[in-house]
């Protein structure tokens, strides 16, 4: 009745926007990935053909797709634990009753999060310049030979991971900090009376109490890190020797540089399927872990 209509009127603008500019394109992407949309189709839509799954099939045979996937998995597998470890460490420092000037440190550690990725990536390019970069200069004092951070195929991805950790750890730090503050103090006191070491306290109180937060944060971080794009775009342009070409970078090049929208959509969907699978796997494993604990 009337109340219903009012509710739908309130919903309409947002639902129309999301439906038209998100849901519809997602469905269209699935359809597009089954066609050979390319520059010929861009010139004239009659040149579009239905090709079933052949985009997917061809992709799976392309070495570049596999190497892009490899680089992305590398970035996620190293970057996420490193990033979360840093976040947790920083949060525990901030949560310590011994820490001084907490608001200042919290703001300072969080500042990189709100900055613009592109601008920060530009800065890092100079800080990690082989010849004049601050990184090599400082390391030089410790007798380390200059490293070609962004020009050496072996170092480019580690440098990007380092950048991503620096840029992002503050976000999870805030969430962990809230989680830590919610742990009752008397749990630690009881443990101390029982003679538990700091490590044991961390292992048996902090980690279990943070459990749900950790799971949620790791799932969000994993899906965020799978979407690696701006960093290689600005810092390395996918190079050197395509060693930093991520799946999304491949999608961007395939789609907007070569205008193979069909196969680019297939790349996007494969990424989606992979992210979904990894997230589901993480949820599943955590459930099993809980079951084992109980």
């Amino acid at each position: 009745m009337n109340r219903q209509r009012v509710a739908w009127l309130f919903l309409a603008p947002a639902l129309i926007v999301l439906g038209l500019f998100f849901l519809l394109p997602v469905i269209a992407a699935l359809a597009l990935s089954l066609t050979d949309y390319d520059i010929y189709a861009l010139a004239n839509i009659h040149n579009l053909r239905f090709v079933a799954l052949s985009n997917y099939w061809l992709l799976l045979q392309r070495p570049l797709f596999w190497s892009a996937l490899g680089h992305t998995v590398y970035f996620v597998a190293i970057g996420v634990p490193l990033s979360m470890g840093t976040s947790l460490g920083a949060a525990m420092l901030l949560n310590s009753p011994l820490a001084k000037m907490k608001p200042f440190f919290r703001t300072a550690l969080f500042a990189p999060v709100v900055t613009t990725v592109v601008a920060m990536a530009v800065i890092w390019r100079y800080l990690f310049n082989t010849k004049y970069g601050m990184a090599n200069y400082v390391l030089g004092h410790f007798g380390v030979h200059p490293v070609d951070w962004l020009g050496d195929p072996h170092w480019a991805m580690p440098t990007i991971i380092l950048f991503a950790v620096w840029k992002n750890f503050g976000y999870n730090m805030i969430i962990f900090l809230a989680g830590l503050q919610a742990i009752p103090i008397d749990l630690y006191e009881a443990a101390r009376i029982d003679g538990a070491s700091a490590w044991q306290q961390f292992r048996h109180i902090t980690l279990p109490m943070l459990g749900p937060t950790l799971l949620m944060v790791s799932i969000l971080t994993v899906s965020g890190y799978f979407q690696l794009f701006a960093e290689p775009y600005v810092m390395t342009e996918g190079g050197p020797l395509q060693s930093t070409t991520s799946v999304l970078y491949l999608m961007y090049e395939e789609g907007f540089k070569w205008w193979n929208l069909g196969s680019a959509s297939a790349v996007a969907f494969l990424l989606f399927v992979m992210m979904f699978a990894v997230t589901a796997l993480m949820l599943r494993l955590s459930k099993r872990g809980e079951g084992a604990d109980a």
Partner: protein, 441 residues
């Protein structure tokens, strides 16, 4: 005259600012839609440049605007690595400029999109752009299916840079004329144990192999660009020569990333030859110390039997179909095609002019190192005029790198290459076999 230009542009710009402010205040999607496109300036010509040329052209334009006070040119510089994407998205979004600089390997693609304006009638009536004055092969890269779509602006062909002193030390007075002589010299100049090689051919650059491949008497694609033709005897000989250079350790199997700074290594004599393009004239002149400037020179590519061909690369100037200022755009193309202006472009950037009369300028005529390019330009061959060529060339290099690594024999490599080229060309074959569809625009 200048006053007119100022009054023509400045107030409009501030009108635009006000419009912007209105958009902000309104904060309403319908208003935003109408604010979407900046108001077009009737006298404003938008020119896109790619890479280094943008900086130079800004210096050439004041003279043009003095001659044509009614035309104001707005230059937008695209970084080379982002240019292809910007051109295609601009076409898709109907926001192409009036004219652009366009690499001639991208020209077939833009023509396939029906994005470019045919220029034959303008050339027919032009007192400046004269076909016969241009090097024939560079002119022909602008003709697709018999129609002219661009005017060559500068030529980017590949030649050999070489160390005259090292050749002399090894007992060679003259640079090599054919592959046999070249092979002998490469062998004499290489000493891998001392980290010395005849030549640097980065294994991730397709241009050197492509320049050699074009020397093959057979075309690289057959049946009107429907299939790869890499299993032809000619290409097999080219690939054998190229791969042998690595197998004989006359070139290191490294990428240009691993090669790092090729100029100083060339200066130190790590490489006696370097197969590269015009921009390196400037690089070598600025990077090598004065004492070493007399020790290097340039030469056209040796061929299988006597002087060989090289690639007819470079950039053209093209006008977009959607431009509303085609006459003004052509006026600018004519200006940039004048020999004196092309000579200034050479002086600014080292871009080699595509017309013979431009080479009469003192800085080119009296420069023996530039003359090697002049000679090569009479012996250039265009790349196959299909939009897919760049992708095929990339595959060619990947397969060649596998052959260098010993993973494929020459026969296996060429067979694999033909197979990949045929896959890439599948859509083109289908298009050509369904002409009624491709013509229905």
């Amino acid at each position: 005259m200048n006053r007119h230009r100022l009054s023509g542009t400045l107030p409009k710009r501030s009108v635009f600012r006000v419009l912007l402010a209105v958009c902000v205040l309104a904060g309403n999607s319908i208003v935003l839609g109408s604010c979407a496109k900046a108001p077009a300036d009737d006298h404003q010509l938008i020119l896109w440049t790619i890479g280094r040329e943008g900086e130079a052209i800004i210096k050439l334009l004041p003279d043009f605007e003095r001659l044509h006070p009614d035309i104001h040119v707005k230059v937008q510089q695209l970084p080379l690595t982002a240019a292809h994407q910007k051109l295609l998205t601009a076409f898709a979004g109907n926001s192409t400029p009036d004219l652009t600089q366009l690499g001639n390997t991208w020209l077939p693609e833009m023509v396939a999109l029906n994005a470019l304006e045919p220029l034959q009638s303008q050339v027919d009536h032009s007192g400046v752009v004269k076909r016969d004055d241009y090097f024939p092969s560079i002119w022909s890269t602008n003709i697709i299916d018999g129609t002219l779509y661009g005017v060559p602006w500068y030529v980017d062909t590949r030649i050999l840079f070489y160390r005259t002193d090292l050749l002399k030390q090894a007992g060679f007075d003259k640079p090599p004329q054919d592959w046999v002589q070249w092979r002998t010299m490469l062998g004499a100049l290489s000493n891998p144990t001392q980290h010395r090689y005849g030549i640097l051919l980065p294994t991730n650059e397709y241009e050197p192999l492509m320049a050699l491949a074009l020397q093959s008497p057979e075309p690289l694609l057959r049946d009107g660009g429907r299939y790869g033709n890499f299993e032809s005897a000619g290409f097999k000989r080219v690939l054998t020569f190229y791969v042998d250079t690595f197998k004989l350790h006359q070139a290191p199997a490294i990428t240009n990333v691993e090669a790092g700074n090729p100029w100083s290594e060339f200066g130190r004599g790590v490489y006696a030859f370097y197969l590269s393009g015009p921009w390196n004239m400037g690089e070598f002149r600025s990077r090598l110390p004065a004492a070493e400037q007399g020790d290097w020179s340039t030469m056209p590519l040796p061929g299988e039997n006597g002087p060989g061909a090289s690639v007819a690369g470079g950039s053209s100037l093209v006008i977009f179909r959607t431009s509303t200022h085609k006459q003004a755009a052509w006026t600018l193309i004519e200006y940039l095609s004048q020999p004196t202006v092309q000579q200034r472009l050479y002086d600014l950037l080292g871009d080699m002019p595509p017309r013979r009369s431009s080479w009469e300028g003192a800085s080119l005529r009296d420069d023996p190192k530039a003359q090697a390019f002049r000679e090569q330009m009479e012996r250039m061959k265009p790349t196959p005029p299909v939009p897919e060529w760049e992708r095929i060339a990339t595959e060619m290099q990947l397969v060649a790198a596998q052959a260098i690594a010993g993973e494929l024999t020459i026969d296996q490599a060429t067979a694999k290459l033909d197979q990949r080229a045929d896959t890439i060309l599948e859509k083109r074959r289908w298009m050509l076999d369904h002409p009624q569809r491709s013509d229905a625009r």
